[in-house]
Amino acid sequence: MRLEVLLLDDRVEREALADLASLAAFPEVYIQAWVPARDVLQKDRIAQAALDDPRTLVFTQNNVARRQRLAHAAKVARGECLLVLPTGRSLNPDGLAELAQLAAHGGPRFVLAPGSAPRSASGIDPGATSAAPLAPRGRFSLAELLRHLDAGATVAVAPDALLELDALPRSADDASLWGAFSALEFAAYFLERSAGREWALGTPLLAEPAHSHAGGFAEQEARAAWKLQVLAALSFAVDHGDPSPNGVTYREARHERLGGALVEAVRTLSTIRNPKVLAGLPPAWAAPRVPVGGAW
């Protein structure tokens, strides 16, 4: 399977150009670069940088909601699998090699890769993996999904799965959830409809940042929040979803496990945010001064 990398979230120009440059080392991937419409110069520079690379498509975000960006990305995708690249991250060649072999397994629509491979300042350490591989490789369960979210597991999906999701009717609640991170929908979708077409890689798809294995506050907070959002979507699916095609009623079977996972995810997020509150720093949301990329 061939990967298409999406630079979907806001980046400052320096970050966008650096991420594009790092992808030059992976000629087998396609690239979509989404740039803020408000920054014409940035768009021009990125477009210029992409001119020499026919693999790269450049789009303007134009204040389009993330869900719409994802849906459009899926419509124009050339690869068989889509991955949103977080800002400042790079790919792991071993993970790409393993992904390429998945065509032989029927082309799964929902791919889960374990946490990042460590990377030294001089480059990716070949074959090294900081997180335990998903075991056994191949099909995975909800329990494995939840466990590996903790370790920064990466989710990639087939474009047709994304389009099918986009076409589903939605309640107001799930539309808001979609607005957060696509992984919410993928996870709920996986639960309800995708059984049998999921696949876990044994190798990370992403390499860790060169200079920070732990990530800064924003990255840690975003990752913990993302997991909690996934669980919120699962909780919603459990309470309101129909029984799955294979006859499992999630409400009874999953609630207990989900409750424990929710509590621990709240704990993780609180552990990250509490020191800021303790330091007397009140929280507030605002338009980004330095855009930060998200991750599925």
């Binding site: 808001s176 929710l262 605002a286």
Partner: protein, 326 residues
């Protein structure tokens, strides 16, 4: 529930004679504009067996000079204890330090920016004696100005005990206004001081649960305090009150969730120390369901903010004020 105090002679208690000693803990920090009224209201309390502990957290305004001036001229019956910290240590430490300066079994919070009605201690103490509750909260009127204050909890509310099961269905309600709390010292003896690394803010969310696990939590629907709203109060550090509705919702729900988690841990800890019961097990399940509901509400707000391209920041605001609170 522990009802041993119901054997105490009610008539004697109403007059304050032979009554258990009660303390008001007036924690202050940069309350120069308000502390005069607050302290005079404390000194005017009708309950005679009263300690008033004023503990200032190294205010750099007129707070301390106002306190000492009023105290120097006081000749009434209450035992007045004044203390001032050499450096600012935060509201939680300030409260614990104040608690150490009295041996009263019932402690009433009295922040330096709020005004207690003259019968506040009397009514809370009488309710404590009659019900055996480990924590009593009450109605307040609130606003920036006492002359235009409005009832804080819904006017149709009723006095009565609030069960553990009922508490676990909510994160916080207006019946849990921390500024109004009167609580037994044993709430801290049993559970210890708050672990501020895990609960930087939100003691008022947690104390009623602690109380419900001991002698009970009782809400008294009588307006016994003016709870002052002003930009510097500590409440404004818990969430984004100045931003849009979504920003407030995300930050407030995250604050709620942290306190819900702390409450869950305390129930589990209590069950571990004293043995689990069907009531405790049910409380735990109810609280987890409440957490799930709040996670969804939080997620909706967060998702909407992220889809707008907004990011979360923790930044010191222009006016750094650290008021007193549980």
């Amino acid at each position: 529930m522990d009802r041993i105090r119901t054997a105490i002679d009610g008539e004697a208690l109403r007059s304050g004679g032979g009554a258990p000693r009660v303390a008001m803990l007036m924690t202050t920090f940069r309350h120069g504009a308000f502390v005069g009224e607050a302290l005079r209201a404390a000194l005017a309390q009708t309950w005679s067996a009263l300690d008033i502990v004023v503990s200032d957290d190294c205010s750099d305004d007129q707070t301390w000079s106002i306190v000492t001036d009023i105290a120097g001229r006081y000749t009434g019956p209450h035992r007045l204890v004044l203390m001032r910290h050499g450096q600012n240590g935060g509201a939680a430490k300030n409260l614990l330090a104040a608690m150490e300066r009295t041996d009263a079994a019932l402690l009433l919070l009295a922040h330096g920016d709020d005004i207690s009605m003259p019968n506040r201690v009397q009514r809370v103490a009488e309710t404590w004696i009659a019900t055996g509750a480990s924590l009593i909260s009450h109605q307040a009127i609130s606003g920036p100005d006492p002359a235009e204050a409005q009832p804080f909890a819904a006017e149709g509310s009723r006095s009565g005990p609030v069960s553990l099961a009922a508490l676990c269905r909510h994160s916080w309600t207006p019946h849990m206004l921390g500024a109004t709390f009167g609580f037994e010292r044993r709430i801290f003896d049993e559970f210890g001081p708050f672990d501020r690394a895990r609960l930087p803010r939100g003691g008022d969310h947690v104390l009623p649960t602690r109380a419900a696990l001991l002698g009970g939590f009782y809400y008294l629907h009588e307006p016994l305090m003016f709870w002052r709203r002003h930009p510097g109060q500590m409440t404004h550090h818990t969430a984004d009150f100045a931003g849009g509705g979504l920003s407030h919702a995300e930050t407030w729900k995250a604050y709620d969730l942290n306190a819900l988690l702390y409450r869950l841990d305390e129930i589990r800890g209590f069950a571990g120390r004293h043995g689990s019961t069907p009531l405790l097990a049910q409380a735990e399940r109810t609280l987890i369901a409440t957490i799930a509901k709040h996670v969804r509400d939080w997620s909706v707000a967060r998702g909407a903010l992220e889809s707008q391209g907004q990011t979360l920041r923790f930044e010191r605001r222009q006016q750094q004020v650290q008021g007193a609170g549980a």
